[in-house]
Symmetry: C2
Subunit: 199 residues, 2 copies
């Protein structure tokens, strides 16, 4: 089974994803691991910093995934996205795992045992987490959340032709402020086990 987890900035989604992976004894892949994988594939750190999560032209992506067209002539930002999407497909073939972000829900949409999750929370809950865990001063939290969420939404909407954060784009959406981050992880594990049992 593959569990993909998208999340609003500051909602605790990455931390929840790690707990879910630990509790299910699944492999865990987040942005950092994907970046390392891209470096192995020949992308420099500088390139990744400059071009990561910048959308380009979705028609080119469709062409790429639907045929044997090479990425040689794509702009660098799209080359990087394509490399990450390929790595996500490889990860999915290697066994049970939890993947955070990067349109993994869309890339793996035809996988027979896929659970797609989105984590969100009210602004106040996220601002408190950003202050406590990332040291973002409260007067900057609103701006920081908006900037990061805008970037994630643009990237997702561009490549997937779905809407980031819309309930209809995912199997399961949860407000992490209701059960807390540990409780939310528990709810996702329960859902994944129910899915496994009913299949």
């Amino acid at each position: 089974m593959i569990i993909t987890i998208g999340r609003q900035y500051g909602s605790g989604g990455r931390y929840i994803a790690k707990m879910v992976a630990d509790q299910l004894n699944y492999a865990f892949f987040d942005d950092e691991l994907l970046k390392l994988a891209c470096q192995k594939a020949g992308f420099s750190e500088e390139m990744i910093r400059q071009f990561d999560e910048k959308p380009g032209n979705s028609l080119l992506y469709s062409t790429f995934v639907n045929s044997a067209v090479t990425t040689d002539n794509l702009p660098l930002n799209q080359k990087l996205a394509m490399a990450q999407f390929e790595i996500i497909e490889q990860l999915a073939r290697s066994g049970n795992c939890v993947i955070v972000g990067r349109c993994a829900d869309y890339i793996l949409r035809n996988h027979p045992d896929l659970v797609t999750v989105f984590i969100h929370a009210p602004g106040e809950f996220r601002a408190a987490r950003l202050e406590a865990y990332y040291g973002v001063p409260r007067q900057l939290t609103d701006k920081t959340m908006k900037k990061h969420d805008r970037k994630r939404a643009d990237y997702y909407n561009f490549f997937t032709q779905k809407k980031w954060g819309a309930s209809q784009s995912y199997h399961l959406c949860l407000d992490s402020s209701v059960l807390g981050v540990e409780g939310t992880a528990e709810a996702i594990v329960a859902y994944a086990r129910l899915r496994e049992r009913l299949n």
Copy 2:
């Protein structure tokens, strides 16, 4: 505990809500019961048919709920909405229950033990249900779903100042096609029990 369930037309949300209520041994209130309650409160069936779920002026609603203003001068559609909202508040005071639709999540937003749920499903799943259970011919399912969902969204967005179907408007959103209607009811019951345990 109060569980409110909003749903896309044809997603099985009403049926799921009934199963959740039965499994938790909670009272169950859906549109029909609310309509009956309104008739008891003096609204005729004709009035309900004509004015039900038609939004009006949300400022008037805020005025109404935040003060002792009477509904005497409101247009009929809003009088009916106000009567239903009052009935929802009464139901919530009478004990554990599941309430389907009617902005109940918003009306009861300050209730300490509230779980707000939204059920959706892909068009194909919903069309097949509408055909099988409601006899809607396949060539009309798209139009029927759009019409009903538009009406629900307009009503919800008007009174709540939130967005119908947006993940951020609810604690828990589920695609009922993934676990099926029975499995989705089971997932909601599991979530409610987890919520109860963690509180």
